[in-house]
């Protein structure tokens, strides 16, 4: 295995409190050393002068659609898109066909990923069989097969008693429970955030309270059960406040936000453009402010893309018939820089923390640091390169993003997994 020496980058490793210009030596797939003026015989050199060298980014919320929907995305194509986005590890949601609710499906995903994905893929198992919200899935067996969390993402458990039992089960196996919070009765039939825009456009609303009531319920259940509980793609202001409150009470409650939920509000949608249709929906400006504040004050722990590929045929329909979700892997870093770091809302170190050590800790995976001995997963990005996102060059199989043609300032330069480059902007040194 080759030896790489990454020279003269700004090494940012929040887990170890490091933010300094230094070299990083990668040896035999592991981080060998971090420090100034490192040398190593027969090491290949990557000159990172002017760039940021960070632990490999972790996206704890993606949909790779395999098995079952490989026309939208596969573990291979999704893994390539992740690498191109600067991510070295992803956690994939179980809403495949069949649903990942058994050790068999988990094993299939783990094996496919091992053979085909350039990045680490961690499966998330279903909470209930078929994610139908009724009978608990084989959570323990799936844990043995490799899941790192449970979730019925997209089809939230509506029955509070089932959710309580799920939390107790998750706790027994040391797994976090991740919930897509949406009271399905309150959101039923909704197309976009309920507010002035939905009323003006004559589209049915998904009220912020449909998220809030389930976050409230779950936090109360997390307190009763002592489970580790995580709110997926938080979007509504009262939900952020409640997670903040839960943390102050010392509960094991965390949350993530997607780049699009801090980058866009409902008013940003061109009329009836299905590339702006997702769940939770783009919220009001006051909610965007609240999630941004949550990123600043710590109510929100992680940035996750909720990468949700859909083929063009499904997005080329009447707005209300289009499926929910957008792709997100390839512009997550740039959006975080544009909306959070460049305007000075959070320091760069905080952004890296939100994309590395924090999600790794929530999922309890040994990732997200440059500690010597750790896996040599490294994300290298810059802060000032001007570039334009062209969705037609995306490595995802799908094209459903509102950021086509968007001009960014700063973004990923290279991605290393296990000491090997899996993606480089300059296309060099790829196997």
């Amino acid at each position: 295995m080759s030896t790489w020496l990454i020279k003269n980058g700004r090494v940012l490793d929040p887990a170890n409190g490091i933010d300094t210009v230094a070299d990083v030596l990668l040896l035999d797939g592991k981080i060998a050393a971090v420090g100034p003026n490192l040398t190593a015989s027969n090491a290949q050199i990557f000159d990172a002068t002017g760039m940021v060298v960070a632990p490999g980014f972790v996206d704890m919320h993606v949909h790779f659609r395999e098995p079952g929907f490989e026309h939208s995305e596969s573990i291979e194509s999704g893994g390539k898109a992740a690498a191109a986005g600067g991510f070295t590890s992803v956690a994939c949601m179980p809403n495949t066909m069949p649903v990942n609710d058994s050790a068999t499906v988990t094993t299939y995903i783990v094996e496919r990923a091992r053979r085909l994905s350039p990045v680490n893929v961690y499966p998330i198992g279903a909470i209930t069989k078929g994610s139908a919200g009724e009978e608990l899935a084989a959570i323990g067996s799936m844990k043995q097969a490799g899941i790192v969390a449970i979730s019925d993402d997209g089809r939230p458990v509506m029955n509070a008693r089932v959710m309580r039992r799920a939390m107790e089960t998750a706790k027994s196996f040391g797994l976090p429970l991740i919930n897509h919070c949406e009271d399905l009765h309150l959101s039923a039939g909704g197309d976009m955030h309920e507010g002035f825009e939905s009323v003006r456009l004559g589209l049915r609303g998904i009220p912020g309270c449909s998220e809030d009531v389930m976050v409230a319920r779950d936090i109360l259940l997390a307190e009763v059960t002592g489970a580790q509980y995580h709110v997926a793609h938080i979007s509504a202001r009262h939900s952020v406040a409640m997670v903040h409150f839960a943390k102050q009470r010392g509960l094991r409650v965390t949350s993530e936000v997607t780049p699009h939920h801090f980058a866009l509000a409902d008013i940003d949608m061109p009329p009836y453009d299905s590339n702006y249709r997702m769940k939770p929906p783009l919220r009001g400006c006051i909610d965007v402010e609240a999630v941004t504040e949550g990123l600043i004050n710590g109510a929100i722990d992680a940035i996750a893309t909720d990468h949700a590929p859909h083929p063009g045929s499904e997005k080329m329909q009447e707005f209300e018939r289009c499926p929910f979700g957008i792709t997100g892997l390839e512009h997550a870093i740039s959006l975080s820089l544009e909306k959070l770091v460049h305007p000075g809302l959070i320091p760069l170190g905080r952004m890296v923390e939100l994309l590395t050590v924090n999600p790794a800790r929530i999922l309890n995976i040994p990732k997200g640091t440059l500690t010597p001995g750790a896996d040599a997963d490294v994300t290298i990005f810059d802060l000032d390169r001007k570039w334009k996102f062209d969705v037609n060059k995306s490595l995802s199989k799908s094209r459903n993003t509102p950021f086509h043609g968007h001009e960014f300032c700063g973004g990923q330069v290279a991605t290393m997994v296990g000491g090997r480059f899996v993606w480089r902007l300059d296309g060099l040194n790829l196997d």
């Binding site: 039923a188 003006r200 004559g202 589209l203 009836y272 080329m316 329909q317 009447e318 707005f319 209300e320």
Partner: protein, 300 residues
């Protein structure tokens, strides 16, 4: 040039259509303005008056028309909306009149099709020609829209007629009072345009009204029971005794189809205050003006 909604239409454009419509009123003469032009009426939702009205309007202007209803079209065979429209577009009509149950369906298509689209009602969004014919009808009874008090009563939440009327009336300085139970009257409607107020009380809405516009409860768009059905007529149905609170020369309008005994009593619907049939009549004149504008301009 498509006509997708009133919201983005300027006052001069609206005035031009209303003035031109006056020329077409009270005459059933045939013109050859749109001779050799083809109009496709594409209705994905049931409609009697709007479809017929567009068809008659087109024929009076000398256009060829073909009307397609969704049940008879390829959509029932699984063809997507874009493919259906592209197929029709390839037959080179000069305009497509479209009604669809999905809000924004014509806006979505207008992005991909070169053919001008006239929105004949999209979901719960807009119904621009209805608002135009309503304005024509009001102006047949009043010198101007400026300063009029117009009460729109009923299922506002699901009404494309209400939205288009709010935009149009507000642009011309009328005061619009929207009335219905809270579940059918989202508070955000008050910001839809200037001079719009909301009330849950029908008496308050009707007080000193110049125009009362009644709306049907759109059961087909509701996915629940947002108001006790048995109470609806009692609290939101227009009856003769209400009219005494309005201006003496108040006019009562309804876009149809009317449900007697649900949102309006027969006595009111058939009273001399009702201009419901004038609205239907004006529909043809207004749609002639719209077709002339859309189909004439596109072929210069």
């Amino acid at each position: 040039m498509s006509l997708l909604g009133i919201e983005d239409l300027g006052r001069p454009e609206i005035e031009a259509i209303l003035t031109r419509a006056k020329d077409f009123q009270a005459s059933t003469a045939k013109y050859d303005t749109l001779k050799n032009r083809l109009l496709v009426n594409l209705f994905f939702e049931n409609s009697t008056r709007t479809r017929t009205s567009f068809e008659i309007a087109a024929k009076r202007l000398g256009a060829d028309t073909i009307s397609i209803t969704a049940s008879a079209s390829s959509t029932s065979k699984g063809e997507s909306l874009v493919d259906t429209l592209n197929t029709l577009g390839a037959m080179r009509p000069h305009a497509i009149v479209m009604r669809h149950a999905a809000s924004g369906a014509p806006h979505f298509l207008a992005r991909y099709l070169p053919t001008p689209i006239i929105n004949a009602g999209d979901g719960t969004h807009e119904h621009p020609t209805q608002a135009l014919l309503d304005a024509r009808t009001i102006l047949d009874n009043r010198p101007s829209l400026e300063g009029l008090r117009v009460a729109i009563i009923g299922d506002i939440a699901h009404s494309r007629v209400a939205r288009s009327n709010v935009h149009l009336l507000s642009k011309f300085g009328a005061h619009v009072v929207l009335c219905g139970p809270a579940s059918l009257l989202p508070a955000q409607l008050a910001q839809l345009a200037p001079n719009v107020t909301l009330t849950y009380n029908i008496r308050e809405a009707i007080q000193d009204a110049d125009v009362i516009m009644m709306l049907r409860v759109q059961l087909e768009r509701q996915h629940e029971t947002p108001f006790p059905p048995g109470d609806y007529f009692k609290f939101y149905g227009l009856r003769l005794e209400h009219l005494q609170h309005a201006k003496p020369n108040v006019i009562v309008m309804h876009p149809g189809p009317i449900n007697r005994g649900r949102e309006i009593s027969s006595e009111v619907a058939d009273s001399n205050r009702s201009v419901i049939l004038n609205q239907v009549e004006n529909g043809i004149a207004v749609r002639m003006a719209v077709l002339e504008r859309v189909m004439g301009a596109s072929q210069q």
